[in-house]
Amino acid sequence: MPKEILDKPFMSSQITTDDNDKPVYSPCRYECPIHTDVQRYIHLISNAKYEEAFETIRSVNPLPSTCSYICHHPCENACRRGKIDAPLAIRHLKRYAIQKATEYRKKNRLRPKQTNGKKVAIIGSGPSGLTVASDLADLGYGVTIYEKFSKLGGILALAIPTYRLPREALKEDIDDILAKGVETVLNCEVGKDISLKDLIAKYDTVVVATGLMKSRNLNIPGIDGQGVLLAIPFLIDVFSNDNREFKLGKRVVVIGGGNVAIDVARTAKRLGSDVEMVCLEAPDEMPAWSWEVDEATQEDIKINHRWAPKEIVRKDGIIEGLVVKRVTSVFDSNGRFNPEYDEHITDFISADTVIVSIGQTVDTTFLNDSPLIVDKQGKLVFNNHDYLSNHPKIFYSGEIVTGPGSAVSAIAHGHKVASSIHQRLNDSKTDLSFVEIDKIGDIPETVRNVIKARPRISISLLDTNIRKKTFIPVEIGYDDASALREAKRCRGCGGGAVVDIRKCMACMTCKRICPYDAPVVSFYSRIRQEYCQACGLCVSTCPSKAISMRGMDVESFRKDVIGLLSEKNSNIQTPPFLLYTCITQGLNPEIPQDIKVVSLDCLSRLDVLDIITPFNYAIRGVLLLPCNDDCKYHGVDYWLKMKVLHAKKILSSLSIPQDCIQIIFNNKSELSQNINDSSLNALIQRHKEGLQ
């Protein structure tokens, strides 16, 4: 969370840009509550740099694995690709990157560099509590988490169904945090097992992050008695206590239309019951995420919309069913939740079990024997700016003050509170909160029209028939090829070319070469960010080296080249070939040992220098393998050919044979079947032989 981790652009800070040329966030980053640099990690994925991709994610997110399973991904909703074909599958790619980096992660838990002697207690270990703990530990605080339950993670560990969030994923996240030296006191409920007063005495600051753990109940006839369950205790019982044998009735009715209600319904389904849902809202009004609703429907869960519970009908105390009444409207004219009913229109849903999932509320046990106060409406008292309570040593964090929301919003809030605490305890003016900058404009229609559509690569889901019976994850992740293809759909919004106006002499080269008409040239060139697709053609052609990329790493592959060519490999008798390719995944592991592979997001970013410089080392030749028909940009093949011609001309003055540089243009059929196909390697082999 510290700023230096958050904001590590590739772009050199040495350049001077036009005043109107302010950096902007890509929509994905802008909409992410913690402003994850999505584009950067996607770019790293497409360069097969999973560890760096993971670090990019982890730099702002203490629960990366968790989010990769359950995040509601506002990034995807904002993705500009959505206006072309479909948004990038960002969450899936995140999960892919994290999984790829699993071994690395286990070996590279981040430990705080120093301690500052200050101690903080955090009550509750949900996403926001864990975030505060992680951030403060990073900053050198001694952090202790007090957790009521026997596990860390709050709702994530207790109630989120395992088919959505496998607990191993959560464990990875928690292990990261524990590795920072965060201490935990489990099975300890503050207000009961220990009082807030005691904590205040022991710690410099206490954070209350207990979330919304108490399920609301209904007040309708028949609610009391057996057969009525509350959502959270039900889920905790199934998922925390591993009570897969939970005895539900044959026919279960779930009341509620939120995400928790969906979780409850799908869980009940998996326990073997027939499940129906009753919710006030019409389909488009439901608070649950649409994809969750879709998955529930696929699992044969019937959702009764615009009905409200009226009465639970019992016979001899045993539930026979639920009487529902018609909802005429859910929201009032001000958009506030204020349902109205027609009491005369009713229906009856037969059931033997009713699970109430109409929202959660604060469990106020922690207030016992504490200096904290509530106002006349019974609400907690706190400062809306820094979330300090009425007591100078107690902060609130997470849904307890923000109300119900997503995990990532709770993480964002945790960052905010950690920042407030750090400022307060250090009397520091340093603002550690996120840099808030504008987001990029929409893709202009002219540009949209030239971008090739390339459908989103969906991940596969478990077959619904299996799904209904099992608690293992529904989503099956990407294989390497699919992940790469999907990552390459990213348009690099806001991460594209930027002109150093001290170097630009308005030569028009960028304007002439740009396939998207992004540059506007007057006294110097300004590359319109909303037009730029970050292909990098201008960067590699600018004669005064005035153009760089804001967000794309177009430099680090050069270090890779030097690293590869400098490395001594005793197995290779003769000097190696260097292969530049943007077909990252297709080449290993069968690629011959004497071909050193450097992967780029796109060969458009290759400079003539990149073709020449390797000849400073002992190599036999440079091979270029572009993705050809698969290229997401325009004109790359042509400019690649021109660069190769240029390089050949230059090298001919050194008497280096022209055929030491070869572009491998595949015909489509050779590649289309499967980029993993060994035919590709055969092709490279053939060209290699041609060079010898």
Partner: protein, 230 residues
């Protein structure tokens, strides 16, 4: 815009091989526009020199950089201390830059990496065309804006000569006959009659033939204060 093209590498190599520490110095104005002498080309050339050096077991330390212009004091002043750490500077500026830098740098050779060719337009991406020779006595108003001095290989003032060949020049089909263009243009402008006038021999003293030229713009000169006091 001044256009130049890089010298053949062999020629460059023979110039610099005797030095152990060389800076390839790009010029980021005119000659960068024609992709011959900007910082990028300087970078490429420094790489090529390195390859040549290592393949011939020659030890040369080569670096590269670019200046905004090599023909003005201030741009050079900013970098002069760095420049003076080299044994030789291979300048990719036009001849003006090489001359100017040579005057300023002290006892360090400044070597020309480019052949400065002409003042040119950018006809299209990658195509540069000579259109003016800086003769010092412009007559473009008499020739429809097309210069017979620069664009006719014989600089004929009362053209065309007998060598015009269906709109092309006798020197080759790649060269347009300037007089053909002049006539077409003046016809279109309705001023062909101007060409009936016989142009007398020119006064070449205003051109390079009159000796190296200087121009004084006194109102921006810094050493003219006594004039101001008059």
């Amino acid at each position: 815009m001044i256009v130049g093209e890089q010298k053949p590498f062999e020629e460059i190599w023979n110039m610099i091989r005797q030095y152990r520490r060389v800076l390839v110095l790009g010029c980021n104005t005119c000659v960068a526009v024609c992709h011959s002498g900007g910082e990028k080309e300087a970078h490429i050339l420094s790489e090529v020199i390195q390859i040549k050096a290592s393949s011939t077991d020659t030890s040369i330390e080569v670096n590269h950089m670019g200046l905004v212009r090599q023909c003005e004091n201030e741009y050079i002043d900013d970098a002069i201390h760095n420049l003076q750490t080299y044994e030789a500077i291979l300048s990719l500026a036009c001849g003006v830059g090489v001359n100017f830098l040579s005057q300023k740098i002290g006892s360090i050779p400044v070597l020309p990496g480019l052949n400065t060719t002409f003042y040119g337009s950018v006809e299209e991406a990658g195509v540069f065309a000579e259109m003016c020779v800086g003769c010092g006595d412009c007559i473009l108003h008499l020739t429809g804006g097309i210069c017979p001095i620069a664009r006719c290989p014989k600089s004929i003032m009362n053209g065309p000569c007998g060598g015009t060949n269906n709109g092309k020049c006798e020197i080759g089909v790649d060269t347009d006959c300037a007089w053909y263009l002049i006539i077409q243009r003046m016809k279109a402008l309705g001023i062909l009659h101007l060409l009936e006038e016989i142009q007398p021999p020119r006064d070449w003293s205003k051109s390079f033939h009159g000796g190296p030229r200087r121009m004084f713009v006194s109102h921006v000169m810094l050493n003219k204060r006594e004039d101001a006091n008059k």
